[in-house]
């Protein structure tokens, strides 16, 4: 019998005093294992899912704190598969990122995939100081390939992304996709696509405007030097192409 998992992982990055970035805190938790994969000016960390999940009822959190002058790149080894739990409760995945002045965070994980019957709430809060730099990618895929192939409906993904820059909110948006969300597949929301994503860029050069003929747009956010590339695609592969400048 499975019990719900509660896990709280943390990463703190600060300059190591020799032109590189040190990770004084690199603490995985529960199914979230963290591996430092390379040193150098930018520290690189890979999130490794140590078990299947998240499952319904799980509460996972990851806090990242990038101190002034540090640079951190976080990726993941594989897609995160959201699976149904036993009691129908949703899983929660909370991300809380703080990036200080003259610091930079690249959050470029693999997609989150909502398997049939799953329900996942993700909540991402990003707090940027003035002059903080960010690359943040988020990809959501509705249904595993074999779910869709056998005609099963996808799971549900409710995802909120809140970004503050120098104390001011510059982005706050929630998408609610999958069975149970009103008109989630209609002509205002997904319109038949099965993959949705963003690339948020702050303090770096903006990605190019997406080519015509795709359901994608480069949006200039109200903050300073901040853009959101938002894209929809039939599948994860084509979404990734649209989100890769």
């Amino acid at each position: 019998m499975s019990t719900a998992v509660v896990a709280d992982a943390r990463i703190t990055a600060r300059p190591d005093g020799r032109g590189g970035t040190a990770l004084p805190v690199l603490a995985g938790g529960g199914p979230i294992a963290l591996r430092r994969t390379r040193g150098g000016a930018t520290a690189r960390v890979t999130v490794i899912g140590a078990m299947a999940g998240p499952l319904g009822g799980d509460r996972l959190a990851l806090r990242i704190d990038v101190r002034p002058g540090a640079a951190l790149h976080v990726g993941s080894a594989a897609a995160t598969i959201s699976l149904p739990g036993r009691d129908g409760r949703p899983a929660r995945w909370d991300l809380d990122f703080t990036v200080a002045e003259d610091a930079e965070l690249h959050w470029l994980p693999e997609p989150v995939v909502a398997a049939t019957g799953s329900r996942l709430l993700t909540r991402t809060r990003i707090t940027l100081a003035a002059g903080a730099r960010l690359h943040y990618r988020e990809e959501q895929v509705l249904g595993r390939h074999h779910d869709l192939a056998r005609g099963a409906p996808p799971g549900r993904l409710t995802s909120r992304l809140t970004v503050r820059q120098a104390g001011r909110p510059i982005l706050d948006q929630q998408t609610d996709l999958g069975p149970g969300a009103p008109a989630w597949d209609g002509p205002a929301s997904l319109g038949g696509h099965r993959a949705a994503g963003h690339l948020l860029t702050v303090g770096h050069p903006a990605p190019p405007v997406p080519p015509p003929g795709h359901d994608a747009a480069l949006l200039t956010l109200p903050g300073t030097d901040a853009t959101l590339l938002t894209a929809l695609a039939p599948d994860a592969l084509r979404l990734r192409r649209l989100l890769t400048p």
């Binding site: 909110p169 706050d172 609610d176 747009a217 949006l219 109200p222």
Partner: protein, 233 residues
Amino acid sequence: MPDRTPAPGGATAVLLLLADGRFPAGGHAHSGGAEAAVRAGRIRDQDDLAAFLTGRLHTTGLTAAALAAAATAAATDPDPDRLDDLDRAADARTPSPALRATSRRLGRQLLRAARAAWPHPALDRLADRHPRGAHHPVVLGTTAHAAGLTPAQAASLAAYESVNGPATACVRLLGLDPYRVAAVLARLAPELDAVTAEAVRAAEQGDLPAASAPLLDILAEQHSTWKVRLFAS
């Protein structure tokens, strides 16, 4: 004896006046994304329209309704900071620059009509602080306060406007049978009330929703680049 007392201050009639498509606040030239969705082949008939309106109501409609309800409450405060905060909250909830410009433009147009109809210091303050226009839900909420309406009434106006404009636009763009479109809107009525209630609850708790719909943002940006278009948004 039936109670024949009208709502205080003529509030019911004021609500009808503000919801009337003929109220001169600029809405007639906006399709709420419907023109772009029609051109993209995503709305072809009343079933597509119903799905479009449902999606819009539960996303940007809910967000706008909560902002409007919060603005009605904030407009009672002589300190303008609360309304300014809501305007920033609306900015953050509108990542598409085309939609931000539309919202501020419609806000400015509504403010013009509201100041003529219900002159009030809160409306003057809003105009002074946002000469390029405050976001439409913020103006709508302030207007509701100036006209003696409640936050719930402001929310219901915002929810209604989120579907009424695109529905009318589709009658014009696709030649849809206006009776069927009226039926689509009539069937949405319970959901409109539910969204209004959810918006009011959220505004009271100070936890403003940020519901959004990906295609609405993408379509709005595409629409803003067209050389030939019938609607302003």
